[in-house]
């Protein structure tokens, strides 16, 4: 009997011990970062949501670094400077452009911005935070969402199909969204977003330096005018350009070369840039630098200007030397004078626009990480000169004189004024002004209908030798880029490829 009792006691002790060791729950509150139900409560949450809008463009190096520039590279002004079949497929309008790794996530990253904007638009209004901050964050969401749609629309959208619109009123979880009926549908949607953004956002002047980089009213207007120009709504476009110009807050930098200087990051010509520093931002300056930077720094040696671009400049155009380095040119490189030469450049030229950060001694203004060669130079996305030339184009297309705006640009470049400027003059100015920039001179050729001619001829290097064979541009379908193949694969066929690709 004694044993029997002992055994029972032993078992009871063991079981109760074990029970006390562990509460047998299968329900846990997720630890660490908040979940959907616990977010959107504090001002800190609102700021975290705001910062998330700018993460994709920094986290994904191809956003404003190398990847999107491959599309701009398709024009006649530059070539893929190194052996790179993936990049060549884009440049050559090969079917491989749909699968090239550099551009696979161009959609994805922009839809991250759109989703995060939508979340702000949905959740922020109900939050009890400082009203001024609330307006700025909300306005930023409208602007960033619109900007993402805008870049997607003119790159991939056409009269045949736009890009998918993820509406804030959409059903959560239903993310197989087909493409909009046409680019026009997208543009109208973007106009709605940007109208709200313009209402809510402050002027740049109202921002404290710590908040620079936050969307502002003038940036919205400028992009609105650019979008309307792309839509060929010239009068409306001109209105928005005028809003920017007449406000008088933005001005051309006195010297073209200074536009691309660290000092001018937030200078008078700034409207919208990819904010950069030595840890992140746009790697474009390093991408364009000589391959391995003559042993000093990791240049990647891509995007080399062509003789076609060099020869486009008129004599005396200061922009040519500011834009292109040729053999024998002197420049300052990490504090030392250097004469440009290269044993591996395909064209014998290099873009000079983004070289200022490399002129300083030591690594003062460049990223020490060789895998991500960003600099302290903010890479312009839309600058005041663009607004002037948008207005000029609007004027010309409406039969008005654009001499004033074109001459502002010419004069700054050290060129004499002209009168009775034509579209041909405007086209030249755009080409010379924005070569190697995200203003996207390639798309200018497309929308002007000039791409077939411009993109079919062979391209040449400094010594006159052909460096890029003739391509064949078929405007019947190449006016838009193929949708990244991963989108089509991942959507289970809901997203359809652009016709012809």
């Amino acid at each position: 009997m004694k044993q029997y009792i002992l055994k029972s006691i032993a078992v009871i002790i063991v079981i109760s011990l074990l029970n006390s060791c562990s509460k047998k729950s299968l329900d846990f509150v997720p630890q660490g970062p908040p979940v959907a139900a616990t977010f959107w409560k504090t001002e800190g949450d609102a700021m975290a949501a705001y910062y998330s809008l700018f993460n994709p463009q920094n986290a994904y190096e191809e956003y404003y670094g190398r990847g999107y520039m491959w599309y701009v590279d398709a024009g006649p002004d530059m070539v893929v400077g190194r052996n790179n079949s993936s990049a060549a497929n884009i440049k050559n309008f090969n079917p491989g452009a749909a699968t090239a790794s550099y551009v696979q996530d161009q959609w994805k990253m922009r839809y991250l911005v759109i989703k995060r904007s939508n979340d702000i638009i949905k959740n922020l209004p109900g939050m009890d935070i400082d009203p001024a901050l609330k307006n700025r964050i909300l306005g930023s969401a409208y602007f960033m969402s619109g900007l993402a749609y805008f870049e997607l629309t003119y790159t991939y959208g056409s009269d045949n199909a736009g890009v998918p619109i993820v509406d804030t009123a959409g059903v959560p979880g239903d993310y197989y969204i087909p493409r909009a009926a046409s680019a026009k549908v997208n543009y109208d949607y973007i106009a709605g977003l940007w109208t709200k953004a313009a209402e809510l956002l402050p002027f740049f002047q109202a921002l404290s330096p710590a908040d620079y980089g936050s969307p502002h009213k003038v940036a919205v207007w400028a992009y609105m005018s650019k979008m309307l120009l792309y839509e060929k709504e010239y009068a409306q476009s001109e209105n928005y350009a005028d809003s920017v110009i007449q406000l008088g807050q933005r001005q051309l930098q006195p010297h073209f070369k200074d536009v691309f200087s660290i000092a001018a990051n937030w200078g008078s010509e700034y409207i919208w840039t990819m904010v950069s520093n030595t840890t992140g931002g746009s790697e474009l300056p390093g991408v364009m630098l000589e391959n391995k930077g003559w042993g000093k720094y990791n240049g990647w040696g891509y995007f080399q200007p062509t003789k076609e671009l060099y020869d486009a400049y008129q004599p005396g155009d200061e922009r040519r030397e500011a834009t292109i380095l040729k053999f024998g040119d002197h420049f300052t490189f990490f504090g030392e004078d250097r004469v440009y030469s290269s044993t591996n450049s395909l064209t014998g030229y290099q873009f000079n626009k983004y070289m200022e950060p490399f002129s300083y001694p030591d690594l003062l203004h460049v990223n020490p990480n060789g895998d991500f060669p960003t600099t302290d130079l903010n890479v312009p996305l839309l600058r005041y000169a663009d607004v002037l030339l948008i207005k000029a184009e609007d004027e010309l297309m409406q039969g008005k004189s654009a001499d004033a705006e074109i001459n502002m640009i010419r004069n700054r470049a050290g060129l004499t004024s002209i009168s009775g400027a034509t579209m041909a003059d405007l086209k030249l100015e755009r080409r010379c002004e924005f070569a190697g920039e995200y203003a996207n001179t390639y798309f200018d050729l497309v929308r002007w209908g000039d791409a077939k001619v411009a993109c079919s001829a062979p391209l040449h290097g400094a010594n006159g030798a052909e460096v890029w064979p003739a391509r064949s541009f078929d405007p019947s379908y190449m006016n838009v880029w193929p949708v990244p193949q991963s989108e089509i694969d991942n959507s289970g066929g809901v997203i359809v490829q652009n016709q012809g690709w």
């Binding site: 993460n55 904010v275 066929g493």
Partner: protein, 1130 residues
């Protein structure tokens, strides 16, 4: 159990206890400790015509003496009548046993009952025809331990003797006499007396007849009773080899268990797949160590006593986590007897067995020039001997420079001992593996204490405690197409010396740097590595076992695991030209896993009267909770890089840390019934119910049933006459098992993610946002597999030959996969979903064993295992994956060879087929489509000829076809060991057949169209007008025909290999010598690993593993090692 109603209640309970004690005793053959009921030394008995057992029972009750015997010993004993008063135990036993064929011995308070040795006649009445020989000899068990009390009888006579404490015996016998050796629990042996006067006899445990027990999950089963596909792993050679992990010990040894080394990196492991891949779930076997689900640190292979593997539905006892099979490891335990100390030391070295070579400087330049010429582009000045003569001088063979001879050290000390009440085993192990690439290594410390304490007759308490520590050099990176140790050694110009004259690392020449690729000096890369991940694992597993009633045992098992993983990686500046990093960075992090497992089981075992019905019922309840908390900190910009400054305090820039915690729990109820009828018809049923916190409350519970049955045909009467057949059993099983794959803890409600920096402001600063970056799926359920197995076990020719064969089929449904979503979902990562599709693993496996006559001086064993698995996706959701699942593994963002699609094996190669190279322009011109257009208009002689599989007249990705996978069709192992006198030889071959590897080193090493990299020597064999039969495409700086950019079968090679995994030659010193040295035994041995490899694969090594689906970018090769070892027993 028969109750007698006349007993008073108090006495009844006592009686019950008594019956229980003794019956349990009989049931557990060989399990023989118990404690005293009384304490008196004198016995008073008055019994008439009772069974011996009853007398023993009475003696024990009165004296507390414990009886030790095999129940079968008493078979055939006569009933006795005995009447004694205050007699000594000896007297009573003598009187009781005088008429029996039984004898006894008493040691302390233990009485051992054995068969009576037949007394050797000292006087012979008849003169011998042949003079008698005095035969002396020893009897040992298979492990070389002497056996005491073995009875030896000359067959056909009543002459006999038994062995003494040292296992020795002496007997007079004639040549030609047959000696018969018998011992409880061992197989009967017969030895014919020859000319020799000394005999050495090895007796085998009665394993082959199926009485040995096999661990089957929450208990053990006799092998003969098993109805599922349960393998015991052949651990021969375990002591002589040096293993990275337990997986290596399983490779090739066990049918159905496919083990692949994931390369030879000392820090990499091996991957175990039991019976296939189990669909697209990340399926892994579940490890159970000493009965507890094991999530602790790496096991010490020297601690392992046995391993059994549950391969089929019998794993259902582990329910939701058992779909990938269960590996049950039992560690060593102390044994009653004198303390024994076992020391095993191994020391040796290892080398790469094959190193493909890169071009020398002059060859590099000339191939590059040829490439330029063939492409019609100007030669680069860097390769022009007149412009840059320095570039033609070979200064470094980079491939040889990065490899070295590595040292392996492996030391193990085990100490064990115990008494009847208490036994322990403790061990310490240290292993260091210096890899064959510079500055790579792994090391491991293991410490273990196991103890078992029989506190009372009904209460056992024990524990398993282990402490592990392991670390190594990580970050060697041999899996990238861009950078890393091996690929850089191929790419790096041989004209560059390793060091500059000042001793610092040399880089590319500044003037021509841009003509070479972006590469880091590979020696510098390796020597700079400082990436450590020390892991400390503490595993504490106390248990309590209570014998409640006759046959009814309660067991409680508690396991607490704490794994502390600390990581520290310091990346130095890289200032030599090539690919510069001006900053240095430090990342440190910590992750701690805390796991608590509480298991309660009740086990009831009953052998019904007459032994016709045998029932074993198990009921259990477990709860497991895991918590993982982690943080990580990143900093950069350290002024000084000396090791003593590599701490955050010296960083100029520290980024905000990240961190969090996840929790999960599993709650389970389970039961198992084993029933056998007449020892012939066997049945097992299992039901388990699991619930997990990882799923929402409506989906988290699931039942896992399994049934299995066996028929021991040889027990049937009609088989009685077949003497050569010792055992023949048919088995069949069916069941459902679960799998949660690598589902994260919060998949149904994923927290916001702390994102990388956003850059804003003036000055531009870093800001960190939060966003939902992964889509939650509250509707998730467990993946489920249905497993069916048919098997046969047979033993022939006196158990010399054993055979196990199984056919199996496993269908996996509701596979869990994190699917890619269209971007419009707005999250970087898609949700985990249950795929509406099925995958199937189907195949057969065979185990064959043979052992020679143990009585011969030369003995040998041969074991073979063979597995054939065919895995296939039988259906997949067409909406989400109209073209299957791709993008698994890409080579330099260009080749994308892996695809999973319905109707094909998982992770199949999806490639354009080639038909060699075009030999002539005419061949190109003749290769036209039905319109007469050239199919490959850009081709030139020497370019690859691609097959237009879809017949559309052009070559495009649409021409891709499926071309097999890296998963072997067959995998096999063959082990033979030989013993002769003191020598032992163990040979182990292992191989796979029918797998294909994607040799992507061809893309990086035979392709002259890349960014100025050096290439492999084999490019000299490329097609040229003078070498027109080569299948390596012509050398060219451009590739209009897309020879290399096309994902084609040019890269696919046969990955089959057969490898002499191990060969060991050992010598055990003669006993006489070791006795003089006062040691138990001493064995010295030499062992070689991967000594010999036969393969058609042209890469470094065919053992590249499945983690990259067979895509080999120059994986760290598996090394060839030679070691010397000493095994000393005290």
């Amino acid at each position: 159990m028969h109750l007698n109603a006349n007993y008073p209640r108090h006495a009844l309970v006592k009686k019950l206890l008594l019956i229980m004690k003794i019956t349990t005793f009989f049931l557990f053959v060989g399990c023989l400790t118990a404690s005293a009921g009384g304490t008196a030394q004198k016995v008073t008995l008055s019994q008439n015509n009772v069974k011996l057992e009853k007398v023993f029972r009475e003696i024990r009750k009165q004296t507390g003496y414990v009886f030790f015997y095999d129940a079968r010993v008493l078979q055939g004993s006569k009933s006795v009548s005995i009447h004694v008063k205050n007699a000594s135990v000896e007297e009573v036993l003598k009187e009781t046993l005088q008429t029996q064929l039984l004898d006894f011995s008493i040691e302390r308070k233990t009485i051992t009952i054995v068969h009576k040795p037949v007394v050797v006649k000292t006087i012979t009445d008849v003169a011998p025809v042949v003079p008698l020989n005095i035969i002396t000899g020893t009897v040992k068990d298979e492990k070389g331990n002497p056996l005491t009390g073995v009875s030896i009888i000359i067959k056909g006579t009543n002459k006999g003797t038994s062995t003494n404490a040292e296992g020795r015996f002496t007997i007079d016998a004639n040549a030609g006499d047959v000696l018969e050796f018998t011992f409880v629990g061992y197989q009967r042996r017969t030895v014919v007396v020859g000319q020799s006067n000394s005999l050495s006899v090895v007796m085998e445990i009665e394993a082959a007849v199926g009485n040995e027990v096999v661990v089957v999950g929450y208990g053990t089963q006799r092998k003969k009773d098993i109805t599922g596909a349960v393998s015991e792993v052949n651990l021969t050679g375990l002591k002589s080899r040096s293993y990275k992990d337990v997986g290596q010990a399983l490779q090739g040894t066990t049918p159905g268990v496919i083990v692949q080394d994931e390369g030879g990196d000392p820090t990499s492991g091996s991957r175990i797949n039991i019976r296939g891949l189990g669909g697209v779930n990340a399926e892994n076997p579940l490890y159970i160590v000493d009965g507890a689900i094991y999530t602790g640190g790496p096991l010490n292979p020297n601690d392992i006593e046995s391993i059994s593997v549950l391969k089929d539905a019998s794993a259902a006892i582990y329910g939701a986590r058992a779909s990938g099979g269960v590996i049950l490891v039992t560690t060593k335990k102390g044994k009653e007897g004198k303390l024994s100390l076992d020391v095993n030391a191994k020391n040796g070295f290892q080398n790469a067995w094959r190193i493909p070579q890169a071009l020398n400087a002059a060859e590099y330049a000339s191939v590059s020039n040829l490439a330029a010429d063939n492409a019609g582009v100007p030669r680069l000045p860097v390769f022009d001997a007149s412009v840059y003569p320095d570039g033609q001088i070979t200064r470094t063979n980079w491939m040889d420079a990065i490899f070295r001879t590595g040292k392996i050290q492996d030391y193990n000390v085990g100490l064990s001992g115990g008494s009847k009440q208490s036994a322990f085993y403790t061990s310490f192990d240290y292993r260091k593996d210096d890899g064959i690439l510079l500055n790579t290594y792994s090391e491991r410390y293991n410490f273990r204490i196991n103890s078992d304490n029989h506190v009372t007759k009904w209460l056992t308490i024990g524990e398993h405690l282990s402490l592990t520590y392991n670390d190594g050099q990580y970050g060697t990176n041999t899996t990238s197409g861009y950078e890393g140790a091996i690929i850089s050694a191929i790419f790096y110009p041989p004209s560059v010396s390793i060091y500059k004259p000042d001793g610092s690392f040399n880089g590319l020449p500044d003037q021509y740097a841009g003509s070479y690729g972006d590469i880091i000096n590979p020696v510098a890369y390796l020597k700079r590595l400082d990436s450590h991940n020390p892991q400390t694992g503490i595993f504490v597993n106390p248990y309590v076992s209570v014998n409640l009633l006759k046959g009814l045992t309660f067991k409680s098992n508690l396991a607490i695991t704490r794994n502390i993983n600390t990581s520290k990686e310091f990346d130095t500046r890289v200032l030599e030209t090539g690919k510069k990093f001006f900053n240095n960075t430090l990342t440190m992090g910590n992750g701690t896993l805390q796991d608590l497992l509480a298991e309660q089981t009740l086990n009831y075992q009953h052998l019904f009267k007459g032994g016709v019905h045998n029932l074993n019922v198990l009921l259990g309840y477990t709860y497991q909770k895991s918590t993982y908390d982690q943080f990580s900190v990143y900093a950069q910009d350290f002024d000084r890089e000396d090791p003593q400054f590599r701490y955050f305090v010296n960083a100029n820039q520290i980024y905000p840390p990240s961190g969090g915690e996840t929790q999960s729990a599993v709650l389970s109820y389970f039961g198992r019934v084993n029933y056998s009828f007449q020892d012939k018809y066997l049945f097992t049923g299992i039901l388990r119910r699991d619930g997990t916190s990882k799923l929402s409350s409506s989906n988290r519970w699931e039942y896992y049933p399994s049934v299995s049955a066996g028929w021991r045909i040889n027990k049937e009467n009609f088989m009685k006459g077949i003497s050569w057949l010792d055992n023949l059993k048919l088995r069949g099983s069916w069941g459902k098992l679960g799998n949660l794959a690598s589902l994260p803890d919060n998949a149904i409600n994923i927290p916001f993610e702390l994102l990388g920096a956003s850059i804003l402001g003036s000055p531009a600063s870093l800001y960190y946002g939060l966003a939902q970056n992964t889509i939650s799926n509250p509707d998730l359920r467990w993946a489920i597999s249905t497993q069916t197995d048919f098997g046969v076990d047979a033993n022939f020719l006196n158990n010399r030959i054993s055979l196990t064969a199984d056919y199996f089929k496993k269908i996996t449904e509701r596979m869990i996969l994190q699917i890619p979503v269209p971007s419009t979902a707005g999250a970087a990562n898609g949700p985990f979903v249950n795929l509406p599709g099925k995958a199937q693993d189907q195949g057969w496996e065979l185990g064959l064993g043979y052992h020679s006559d143990r009585s011969k001086q030369l003995t040998y064993n041969i074991n073979m295992s063979l597995t054939s698995v065919k895995n296939q996706v039988t259906s997949l959701d067409d909406k989400v994956f109209p073209n299957g699942i791709g993008g698994y593994y890409q080579v330099r963002a260009t080749l994308d060879p892996i695809r999973t699609i319905a109707g094909q094996p998982l992770y199949s190669y999806y490639v354009v087929k080639t038909a060699g190279t075009f030999k002539s322009q005419q061949e190109i011109d003749n290769y036209v489509n039905k319109n007469g257009d050239l199919i490959q208009p850009f081709a030139k002689p020497g370019d690859l000829k691609f097959i237009d599989a879809n017949g559309d007249g052009k070559i495009s990705p649409d021409d891709r076809v499926f071309e097999g996978s890296a998963f072997p069709k067959f995998s096999y192992g063959l082990n033979a060991n030989l013993n002769y006198k003191g020598f032992d030889l163990d040979v182990f071959f292992q191989g796979v057949q029918g797998n294909k590897l994607f040799n992507a080193v061809k893309f990086t090493g035979l392709n002259a169209g890349q960014q100025g990299y050096n290439m492999l020597k084999n490019i000299l064999n490329a097609w040229s007008p003078t070498n027109p039969n080569s299948n390596i495409p012509r050398v060219s700086a451009n590739d209009p025909n897309n020879n290399f950019g096309t994902t084609s079968d040019f890269y696919i090679e046969d990955g089959s290999y057969v490898r002499l995994k191990n060969i060991t030659l050992g010598y055990t010193l003669p006993e006489g010598l070791t006795q003089k040295m006062h040691i138990n035994s001493l064995r010295i041995y030499v062992t070689g690993q991967n000594v010999f490899t036969r393969t058609k694969y042209t890469g470094f090594d065919p053992e590249v593993g499945m983690d990259q689906y067979g895509v080999d970018l120059g994986r760290y090769p598996v090394a060839r090692a030679f070691m010397f070892g000493i095994n000393l027993s005290l």
